[in-house]
């Protein structure tokens, strides 16, 4: 297995762990952590592809990751704010108990 492939497998595993966390965990905060893992897996992909790509002198991959990190932070901020807003009403962060709308 080449070096690039190893990075890709690691990223895929990270993504899978994040997705599994999102799908199985009921706590909103843990789900948020899972989402961050998924985003960072993609970042790892970008860096690996950039480093082992045909044009490492063009900083495309790095630029992409820089922006992705900033966006992930903004997303975390919005997510935490929403969890606080929900907590004020429901007094819980358990997603199974935040299920009033159905249909």
């Amino acid at each position: 297995m080449g070096e690039l492939a190893r990075y890709l497998v690691l990223a895929a595993l990270l993504f899978g762990i994040g997705l599994a966390g999102v799908l199985t965990r009921r706590n909103a905060i843990v789900v948020l952590i899972g989402i961050e893992l998924m985003l960072n897996a993609a970042n790892l992909n970008f860096i690996a592809f950039w480093r082992h790509g045909p044009h490492p002198e063009a900083l495309t991959g790095v630029m992409f990751v820089l922006f992705a990190i900033a966006i992930a932070a903004a997303e975390a901020a919005v997510g935490l704010a929403l969890v606080i807003a929900v907590y004020r009403h429901y007094r819980t962060t358990n997603l199974d108990q935040i299920e009033e709308m159905k249909g």
Partner: protein, 504 residues
């Protein structure tokens, strides 16, 4: 810098800049001047400032003939993107109009600033052909919309809806980013034409399949197609009505446009085939599966809904399915520009209709306190205007001539029929679409029956529609009627813009 200076850039981005300035202005007008004013006045003032910003932006869009292609597609401004931006700003203007009488939040300036910033995100989304810019502007739009959905702090449903919308949305964003990273790795490029060229060598790479599916998944969430639709009913029902209107109209227009760009330009060469009996792997069969699921499930589930906005949500899922037919037709080069015109006409008129329908819902919910369909009984007596507008919008959604929805569907279906040069390959999809449209007529008429036939409480007083809402509703209804009766009004300029565009 390929011969483009910062001043050219600023000139091409004048509409977006104007909207950002309007967002800042509305923030500080509300925080500085209106700090101690009553809530109603703050909403009216902020709405006026935001509306003025939209009008100025429309003026800039109409007067500037900017034509720019910056850094291989990081920024693409031509007459086509200008037209789509006009749709977006008009929808935002209407959204601002139906929020003028609202009182769901005390953060008035933030509310309007977020509406404008979401629109800026959508405008960037339509005028770029580069995956980094697509991702950044997609997130600008989404993050603004998540917060908008949560702004109503009086009810717990708003925060629940917003949290669901956020969780589904950010998982979808993570899928998109992961898919884009694979696309970048396989093709070595970040602009869509370069991606298409780079992917040619990897046509049967399983990694490419994963990448295509993941990217389409992410956008499938944005446009709410089955099976990525689970957030839509809750968000449409729980969010404040104007915010839901923006989620349902403007963000749909922008997302469909950029999804078409990614699929047609970026994934050119990996179309595959969605024709009956000759499915071949690529993005066409993926879209075919999503389209069938959305049309069938959306329409059948809508029948069982008792809440007006929830019904609109399921009907929106069904409509997303119809639009996917148009996107599939764009996969066949012979039909591309006709299908693109049909798709744009459809999403523009659909957005207009939806904003109108949500406008009716907002007045009704403000007066009656709930948005259930049963509560509409006797509406035609209590407010003939509201009932008439509701009828125009719902019949247009159902696709009854001479309203815009009919012509939109007609255009989409003919584009899909003529797409496959080898025969009527997409006929099976069109058949399903027509059958399901018939089903949809049933639940739209059920709502109208409640409004027109079922007698309500005789004692109930007349509903007074404030002038701002009346303005928006009448404008939207007239627009839906005019564009349906004279589709050339919109299709003509669109066809010219497509012909004069950068090959898309």
């Amino acid at each position: 810098m390929t011969g483009v200076g910062y001043s050219d850039l600023l000139a091409a981005l004048a509409p977006e800049t104007a909207l950002v300035l309007a967002a800042v202005a509305v923030l500080f007008v509300d925080m500085g001047l209106m700090r101690s004013a009553p809530l109603r006045q703050r909403f009216l003032t902020a709405c006026a400032v935001a509306g003025l910003g939209c009008l100025v932006t429309l003026g800039i869009l109409a007067s500037s003939g900017a034509h720019l292609r910056f850094l291989d597609g990081v920024l693409v401004v031509d007459s086509l993107t200008q037209w789509v931006k006009v749709f977006l700003v008009v929808l935002t203007l209407f959204t601002a109009g139906i929020s003028a009488q609202a009182e769901f939040t005390e953060h008035v300036g933030e509310y309007f600033a977020l509406v404008l910033l979401a629109t800026v995100g959508m405008m960037f989304l339509v005028s770029t052909e580069e995956i980094l810019m697509i991702f950044v502007s997609l997130e600008l739009t989404s993050l603004s919309l998540y917060v908008l959905a949560a702004l109503d702090k009086r009810t717990r449903h708003a925060s629940e809806a917003a949290l669901k919308y956020f969780l589904f949305g950010s998982v979808a964003a993570a899928f998109t980013l992961f898919g884009l990273s694979l696309v970048y790795g396989l093709s070595g490029a970040t602009n869509l034409t370069g991606i298409a060229a780079g992917l040619r060598a990897h046509r049967s790479d399983p990694l490419l399949a994963v990448a295509v599916v993941m990217v389409i998944m992410g956008f499938g969430f944005k446009v709410a197609v089955v099976p990525f639709h689970l957030w839509a009913p809750d968000a449409y029902e729980g969010a404040p009505v104007p915010a839901a209107a923006l989620i349902a109209s403007g963000s749909k227009v922008a997302s469909f446009f950029v999804l078409a760009k990614i699929a047609v330009l970026g994934f050119a060469g990996v179309e595959g085939s969605g024709a009956w009996g000759q499915l071949r792997a690529g993005w066409l069969p993926v879209l075919a599966v999503l389209a069938v699921g959305s049309m069938v499930l959306g329409n059948l589930t809508a029948i069982a809904q008792g809440h007006l906005r929830r019904l609109l949500a399921y009907s929106a899922i069904a409509h997303a399915g119809y639009v996917l037919l148009g996107l599939m037709a764009m996969g066949y080069p012979s039909q591309r520009s006709a299908a693109l015109a049909a798709v744009l006409y459809y999403v523009a008129t659909y957005g207009l209709t939806t904003v109108g329908a949500f406008g009716v819902a907002s007045v009704i919910e403000r007066v009656l306190g709930n948005g259930r369909i049963d509560a509409l009984a006797g509406l035609s007596r209590r407010s003939p205007l509201l009932a008439l507008c509701l009828m125009v919008f719902l019949l247009s959604l159902a696709g009854i001539p001479p309203l815009a929805g009919f012509f939109g569907k007609f255009g989409l279906f003919t584009a899909a029929m003529g797409a496959d040069p080898a025969g009527l390959g997409l006929l099976w999809l069109v058949g399903i679409a027509i059958a399901m449209s018939t089903v949809s007529l049933y639940y739209y008429l059920r709502v109208l029956k409640q409004a027109y036939v079922v007698a309500g409480d005789e004692e109930a007083s007349r509903i007074v529609v404030p002038w701002t809402d009346r303005l928006v509703l009448i404008a939207a209804a007239v627009g839906v009627f005019l564009l349906g009766a004279l589709p050339e009004l919109l299709l003509g300029p669109l066809a010219r813009a497509i012909a004069g565009g950068n090959g898309f």
